[in-house]
């Protein structure tokens, strides 16, 4: 039995065995812009979650005499809003609902859309036709229009916003998941796995999901920025979060009446939306290159 020696003829690659995720992590750490954006998003989320323990002013307690104080007022770092409520506290607390409604629909749509797309791509045939033709119909609506249509019909409210935005983002994720899965399904290692006698579900679970999830995930992260803007936009239109809850889009709306009195104050909530959405976009771009996902 001399066969073990024969491998010596073939050059063994020098690099250490390295898993996929270790490589992604290493590339991410070397990308300063992405790390900064990740830091900003993380800080916003942590501040929102731990807002009650940060020693902030009460975001609901107004004062008739301290309305629309400018930025830099003593006791009110970022001034006060049209009801005299502390802007800094409201902006931090506002992150709770804004980030939740801005990110949650993409998370939900990621699970639902991936499931639909993977099934459509792997099973093919009539199942594929039914799922993908339904998806096509939703593509006939620009996303803003669809979100406003559903939210407008359902009425204002946090749950209604979550429902309408999730419906908006399921079709694009399904389409990407289907495309990626049909690509993977045609590869030889899926044939090799099927040749073992494994059931379709086992093949999907062990061989398909691991190889399609990262491109779908990267695509989903690229939608978070749009979702944030849309979620805040719904509240801005008055069909999202109801007053008096602090929420950036809603705050931007109520402060519009103050643009002649204290213009830059009224632009602050929008600034928060912009910074978050920019960081989410850059973070998604960084993830895309770190995970080697091609467009």
């Amino acid at each position: 039995m001399t066969l073990v020696e024969t491998t010596a003829v073939e050059p063994a690659p020098a690099q250490k065995p390295q898993g996929y995720w270790a490589g992604v992590g290493a590339r991410l750490v070397r990308d300063p812009l992405t790390m900064i954006c990740a830091g900003v998003v993380l800080a916003l989320i942590l501040a929102a979650v731990f807002a009650p323990w940060l020693g902030l002013a009460d975001p609901y307690k107004g004062s008739m005499i301290a309305r629309l104080k400018p930025i830099g007022t003593t006791g009110h770092l970022l001034g006060t809003d049209e009801q005299g409520r502390d802007m800094f506290a409201r902006l931090i607390y506002g992150g709770r609902l804004t980030l939740f409604i801005g990110l949650m629909p993409v998370v939900l749509a990621f699970f639902i859309g991936s499931a639909l797309g993977i099934v459509a791509g792997f099973v093919g045939g009539l199942t594929n036709t039914i799922i993908m033709r339904t998806v096509d119909v939703f593509f006939a609506f620009p996303s803003v229009l669809l979100a406003i249509a559903i939210s407008g019909a359902l009425g204002a409210g946090i749950v209604n916003s979550l429902v309408s935005l999730t419906i908006v983002f399921i079709p694009p994720i399904t389409r990407v998941a289907e495309a990626v899965t049909s690509g993977v399904r045609a590869l030889d290692y899926i044939d090799a796995a099927r040749a073992t006698g494994a059931s379709a579900l086992t093949v999907i679970r062990v061989h398909v999901i691991g190889n399609v999830l990262s491109p779908i995930f990267v695509y989903a992260t690229s939608l978070t920025s749009v979702c944030m803007i849309l979620a805040a936009g719904l509240s801005f239109l008055g069909i999202g979060v109801r007053p008096p809850e602090p929420e950036w889009g809603l705050m931007l709306n109520t402060l519009r009446s103050a643009i002649y009195i204290n213009p830059w104050l009224s632009a602050l909530p929008g600034m928060m939306i912009f910074v978050t959405s920019l960081c989410l976009n850059l973070l998604s771009d960084g993830l895309r290159s770190a995970m080697n996902v091609r467009d």
């Binding site: 006939a140 609506f141 803003v144 359902l154 939306i273 912009f274």
Partner: protein, 317 residues
């Protein structure tokens, strides 16, 4: 080409059907009884039943859908609950204003986006490229309803150069081609143009960059062609894809102007839509969404067919 056109037209039918179903269902998912808006509060059970029968609301959903689509085919989109006027007239008047805004934004966005994208793609990895890339990421990340407010703060509140509200002097609803009206168009159109500038620039940058590294471009240089001639070749190759992206963006501009119209009180379809939402005017909501979505479907169709006609590389039989 003709066979492609026919096939594409046939493929539109199921999508149009699906769109109509979704618009029909919008009213069904709305909470509350549609009758409460029209019925007096003290109506008896018999009166309610009679009204229900009169509006066909006692019939099963597919029958209601068939009646609705039948009326639609005759141009009857129902009556607005708030004003009592036919929905069709209200919607088409508003869509004209929205189109004006969308086309103006496109006229601003497409040349600027193309120019920036071409500049960046032609000088890959230079500081110009990085600046354009940063600009386009900013453009697609900015909530444009907020940008509208910022522009109002700068140009209306601080500088006082441009009006911030409406489509004409004194809240005028009717459009005219004079400076008094055009002044009102500038801020909303510029605001609306920012996102498509970013998207068009990104698309053109990628296209130009890809094409410039292709073999045939090297061959053109090798043939002794001048820089300008090579650029012309590259532009023609990129045109089909770029045009299709722009066509879709025009569709998005019309559907996506709702928030901007609210910011600027622009009397377009978005403004109509937000009024419909607040007055729970469901027939108006339904009609507006339907018209905007169908416009988007038509836009998609035109883009596909145009792309097939322009791009010699795509054989569509």
């Amino acid at each position: 080409m003709l066979s492609y056109l026919i096939r594409r037209l046939i493929l539109v039918l199921p999508v149009a059907f699906g769109v109509s179903v979704i618009c029909f269902l919008l009213v069904q998912i709305a909470p509350g009884d549609p009758l409460t808006a029209i019925m007096p509060v003290d109506a008896t059970a018999e009166e309610q039943a009679a009204m229900r029968a009169a509006y066909g609301l006692d019939k099963p959903l597919p029958v209601q859908y068939a009646i609705w689509i039948g009326n639609l085919a005759q141009g009857n989109m129902g009556k607005s609950i708030a004003t009592g006027r036919p929905v069709a007239g209200e919607v088409f008047g508003a869509v004209q204003n929205s189109l004006l805004l969308a086309v103006s934004a496109a006229i601003i966005a497409f040349p600027i986006g193309t120019f920036l994208g071409f500049l960046a793609g032609y000088s890959r990895d230079s500081w110009i490229d990085r600046a354009v890339t940063a600009l386009s990421i900013t453009g697609v990340s900015v909530p444009n309803y907020w940008l509208g407010i910022v522009l109002v703060i700068i140009f209306s509140v601080n500088l006082g150069w441009l009006p911030s509200m409406g489509a004409g002097p004194g809240g005028s609803q009717s459009w005219a081609w004079d400076w008094l009206h055009l002044r009102h168009l500038i801020l909303p159109a510029v605001t609306l143009a920012v996102v498509p500038i970013g998207i068009v620039a990104r698309t053109v940058r990628a296209l130009a960059g890809d094409i410039l590294t292709m073999d045939f471009v090297q061959a053109l240089y090798a043939k002794g062609m001048s820089r300008a001639d090579v650029l012309r070749h590259v532009a023609r190759n990129a045109a089909a894809t770029a045009l299709s992206v722009m066509g879709l963006q025009l569709g998005y501009l019309l559907g996506g102007s709702i928030l901007i119209e609210t910011v600027f009180n622009w009397p377009g379809s978005g403004f109509l839509l937000s009024n419909a939402i607040f007055q729970r005017d469901l027939p108006l909501l339904q009609g507006t969404i339907l018209v905007l979505a169908m416009f988007f479907v038509a836009m998609n169709l035109i883009v596909d067919v145009a792309q097939a006609a322009i791009d010699p590389r795509i054989q569509r039989t």
